[in-house]
Every structure is written in C-alpha cells, then in structure tokens.
C-alpha cells in the first residue's frame, strides 16, 4: 500500500519539476513555478521518509536511522534558509555555484556509501578476493561509478568556481596545463573502464575450499581488493580533475562553467536515480541535465565561442599577444564630474550600459536614482543589457530589478543596438569586453566574433571604470581611445552619487 502511494508521490514530484521549469521560463509565472517545484520536492522527500520500504530477508522494513535523517534535514534547512536569505544580490552567482557543489557532493557521497554497503555486507576477505552477499552487476557498477565521477567533478569544480567568483582563488594557468588536463581525463576514463569491466575473478577460497570460476560468470558476486583501491583512486582523481578543469577558466567564462557544472550535477542525480530505480530523481536529474546543457550552449553562442573552446580554454594564451600588439594605443581623455552631469542632463536620450563594475560597487540603487533624476529633467533613460554582462546571464536584470528599475526600460542587445544611434549619451558603468569594438573589427582578437553593444553609434560615450586596467578577458579596448569617448574613473557607486549631486545643483 505505502509503496504504491510513494510511486504516486514521485509522479507528482516529476510533474511539478516539469511544470516548475516551464513556469520558470515565463516572467509572469516564474515565481509560482519555483514554489510549485519546491512543493513537489517536499512531497518527494517526505514520501520517501515515511513510505519507502526495503526488503530484508523477505520482510518489508521502513527506513532506519530516522532521527539522524531528521537532524540532518533540519540542520540543512536552517543553514540553507539563512545563507540564502542573508546573501547579497550581487553575490548571487557564487551562491548558486556553492549550492550546486553541495548537490554534487551529495551525489558523490551516495556512490561511496552504496559501494561501502556492498563491502560491509560481504564476507571476510580471503586471499585478496572478497565475496559479496549481494549481486553487484556491471549495470549497478556503472551507475555507482558514473554518479561518483560526475558528482565529484561537479563538487570540486563548483567550489573552485565559488572561490574564483569571491576572489579568493586566482586563475591558475601554466605551460602544458592543457595536456595535463587531457592526460588526467584519459587516466580517469581508463580507470573507470578498468573498474567497470572488472577482471573476472577466476577462483577464490571460502572456508578452506577453493572455488573455481572458470567462465567468470560469477564475478558479480566477487570483487578483489585491487578494485576497492581503484574505486577510491577514481574518487581522488575525479576531485583533482574537477579542480584542474576550472582552474584555468577565466572570469568571463565563469557563467558558462557554472551552468555546465549545474547540468553535471543533474546527470549525477539521475545516476543515483538509476541506482535506486527512482523516477523522481531520474526525471529531475535528466531534466536539469538537458536544460542546463542547452542553457550552457545558449551562453556560449552569445559569446560566439564553442563549448570545447571554453573548456580547453585558449583564451588566456591569445590575450597576452593581443594586449601586447595594441600597446601603442593613443591617448584617452578624462571628463570631470560636473561636465558629465551637464552632458547628461541636457541630453534627450541616455543609454546606460551596466557591467560587472556596477555589481561590485553595488551601485544598482544609485543608478536607479540617477535614472529618476534625469527623467525629471525630461531625459529619456534606458538600459542596454548584454546577454553576458556581469557574471551570469541575466545578472544585470536581477540587480536592476532589485533596485526597482522598470522592466520595460531594459533593452536586450539587438533592440539596444537599434537605438544607440538615437542616443546622445551612452554611460558605461563597469562594462568592458561587451562593448569592445575589437570583437567586430580585429580578427586577431580573442573575442573576435562575439556580438557586442555598438555604443560607438551614439554621439558621446562616457565610460566609468576604476582604472585603465583591461577587463576580464585581459585585452585592451579601443573604445576608450576614440575621440567621442571620455573616461570617468572611480568606483561606480561613488561616481554616480557625485553625478546626482552635481545634477541637483545645476
């Protein structure tokens, strides 16, 4: 009876995940969609706790260790709730990465425990061969190892991505890194194959009797100690690979990596679902795996790069050469605060281009204030949002929405590019690579081919940056040296506050 109700619980959970994702992709239903998926998740989790049954010696038992399970659930809920509530909106990407890592770690641990479970119930080892009391088929082995490898890579990678976004971990790149990573991946895959295609155990001893397994058909009931070392070797290798995989990937590519790792965790969850023949985990995991992969590809396309290119990471290598080539740039000119305030308050139309600098300075509210004060003076203000501005696609939209900026004022790239020629002033706040004309003009540039915001079409361009340092991609930006461009150095929030003060005093 209970087990049938549980199947229905899993069905409900699966349907809510699909509905939730569907609703999440529409602005008017997105919030409800999130709640629908959360409700389905709760049904799945509590259904499992109270209704799951396992057969031990022909008798059905409910889950054990309920006290421990509930303590872990409670602690996890409290910690998760508090950290998610307290985190600043600007730090959102790293939070998502961290939670993703937790999911990956969870999948990894499930595989370890499941493997340990076979060993724990096995008979004492004799002569390096361990006899199992439960059949460990090749298919189960594949599911366990796949969950282990994918979960570990996702966990280690997400933690490194989190550290990088926080600025705790720097980009690490060295000569031969690409080859080393390829080698690691090769060794990892070989080890997995070696473990899964277990060398058949040909003979073993039980109670002094030697049992010959001439055809190897009984190998699902036996495992050698070599395979146990191999299993934990694979775990260690997958963790190292996860770290090495994310190490060289530069900041501009971070959203792509997080999205990719997100879909990895989905696949790891699906592997665990396969292990337990659990439909909720299977559908949930595969849905996220597929949707996450598509999202990753969409992001790569927005930057006009292939996924392979992001992963192998040719970015760092070319950037040095490109930066060196354009070192004999002309002069840039600066603009004073009062001039900037003047130019903007007498413009007809101002387009604001936000970038990561805005997020770092937490200047979204001040930015909205500037927008309001300019509109009072009869200036039309809009925002041009590049698909990969910030550290995550849609990052800027979330930030500006937090500051109550009207949804309709945010233009996507194509629409913004149509409107730049009617703009008197473009104000760039901490964005760099997404407005670099090299992407259109210079085939040697590493970002060549990436669609950009064509801010040069406007009459005047004011660029707010903290310094002349190149942007995240590490390449120079011709835009800053053009005659119609003037620079306004300083922290975005501080500069905006000063401009507002100037406009008020005009």
């Amino acid at each position: 009876m209970g087990i049938h109700i549980l199947s229905i619980c899993y069905l409900i959970a699966s349907v809510t995940f699909i509905l939730g994702l569907k609703m999440l992709s529409r602005p008017d239903s997105a919030r409800k969609g999130n709640l629908v998926a959360a409700a389905g998740m709760a049904v799945g989790i509590f259904g499992t706790i109270f209704l799951y049954e396992q057969e031990i010696d022909g008798e059905k038992h409910h889950l054990r260790n309920l006290v421990l399970i509930f303590s872990a659930l409670t602690i996890g809920t409290i910690l998760g709730f508090i950290s998610a509530k307290k985190i600043k909106m600007t730090a959102m990407p790293e939070m998502v990465s961290l939670f993703n890592g937790m999911g990956g770690a969870c999948a990894m641990l499930i595989s370890v425990i499941e493997f340990n479970h076979y060993l724990f119930t096995a008979m004492p080892a004799v002569g390096g061969v361990i006899f199992l009391t439960q059949e460990l088929t090749t298919v189960s082995m594949i599911a366990i190892v796949a969950g282990l490898v994918i979960g570990s890579i996702s966990f280690a990678g997400s933690i490194i991505a989190w550290g990088k976004l926080r600025g705790v971990i720097k980009d690490v790149s060295f000569k031969g890194q690409r080859n080393l990573n390829m080698f690691l991946l090769f060794v990892l895959i070989s080890a997995v194959v070696l473990l899964v295609v277990k060398t058949p155990v040909t003979s073993g001893e039980i109670g002094g009797y030697t049992l010959p397994f001439t055809d190897g058909s009984n190998s699902a009931w036996a495992i050698s100690s070599f395979h146990i070392y191999l299993f934990f070797g694979i775990l260690a290798l997958a963790l190292v690979y996860g770290v090495m995989f994310v190490f060289p990937i530069g900041g501009a590519d971070m959203p792509v990596v997080i999205s990719l790792l997100n879909s990895f965790t989905g696949v790891a969850a699906a592997c665990a679902g396969f292990m337990y023949n659990n439909q909720a985990m299977l559908t949930g995991g595969i849905l996220v795996g597929a949707a996450g992969t598509l999202l990753t590809i969409l992001m790569c396309k927005a930057m006009n790069r292939s996924l392979l290119n992001v992963i192998i990471g040719t970015w760092g290598g070319n950037a040095g050469a490109a930066a060196a080539g354009s070192s004999e740039q002309g002069h840039y000119k600066e603009i004073t605060l009062s001039d900037a305030a003047m130019v903007m308050s007498y413009a007809n139309k101002v387009m604001i281009v936000p970038g990561y600098g805005l997020a770092v300075a937490q200047a979204q509210h001040t930015c909205h204030e500037l927008e309001k004060i300019l509109e009072e003076k009869g200036v039309e203000v809009k925002y041009a949002i590049h698909p990969v501005a910030g550290r995550m696609p849609g990052h800027m939209n979330v930030l500006l929405a937090e500051a109550d900026v009207n949804y309709e004022k945010l233009l996507e790239m194509e629409d913004a590019n149509d409107e730049f020629k009617t703009c008197d002033v473009v104000l760039i706040l901490g964005a760099n690579d997404v407005v670099n004309p090299a992407a259109k003009k210079d085939p040697a540039s590493p970002i060549y081919g990436m669609p950009i915001l064509e801010v040069e079409l406007a009459k005047t361009v004011i660029v707010n940056k903290r310094s002349m340092k190149p942007g995240y991609a590490g390449i120079e930006n011709d835009l800053f040296f053009q005659p119609k461009t003037s620079m306004l150095f300083g922290d975005a929030k501080k500069v905006l506050q000063d401009i507002i003060a100037e406009i008020k005093s005009v």
Partner: protein
C-alpha cells in the same frame, strides 16, 4: 552483444524516461527570455537537489553498526538539503524582485542568440 540487448530489454522503461526527459528539458526552456536565465539556472540548481532522496534512502538502509555509512549518509542528507532549500529560497528571492512591476505587453523576445 547479448548482454547489451539484455540491458536494453531489462531497463527499457528507464531508457524511455531518460530520452523523453532530455527532449522535454530542452523543449521546456527553449523559449526562455534572457532576463530569466539566472533565476532559471538557480531554479534548475534547486531541482537537481532531488538527489537528497537518494541520500535519505542510503542513510535509511545503513546498518546500525556501519559508522562510515552513518557519518557519510548524515553529511549527504545535510548537503542535499542545503542544495534544495538554499536553491529554492535564492531563486524565490531573485524572482521576488520581478513582482509588482508592470509586465511587458507582449512576451519578451526569446533569446535568439
């Protein structure tokens, strides 16, 4: 060869679920406007927290004397719960900001890039 065929006939339902879910996953988010990319990624992130169900099962099946399984299982349930709860709460906070705003008359253009 025989074992591969056996695998397919034994797990044919799961194979169907996997393939259909892949198409569904792609189809469901195929028309998402870029403004919702971050919340969607975050929401998907919470959904793969469903892996916590596996952690609960593995924890509940652990023999009382198997301390390794108990400790690791406890950790797995804890981390999985963090993923689920944190993921949904963060997503809700992001989407909270979109409420009470004037919605665009026409649905936002899909991310054609």
């Amino acid at each position: 060869m025989q074992s591969i065929l056996d695998f397919f006939s034994l797990h044919i339902e799961i194979i169907y679920i996997v393939i259909l879910s892949i198409f569904l996953g792609i189809e469901v988010i195929g028309r998402v406007p870029s403004v919702l990319h971050t919340p969607l990624m975050s929401g998907a992130n919470a959904i793969h927290g469903v892996v916590v169900i596996g952690a609960i099962i593995v924890m509940g099946e652990a023999q009382p004397g198997n301390y390794i399984a108990l400790v690791l299982g406890f950790l797995a349930v804890l981390l999985g719960t963090l993923n689920v709860v944190g993921g949904f709460v963060v997503t809700d906070r992001m989407l909270e900001m979109f409420k009470n705003k004037k919605k665009p008359q026409k649905p936002a253009t899909p991310d054609a890039a």
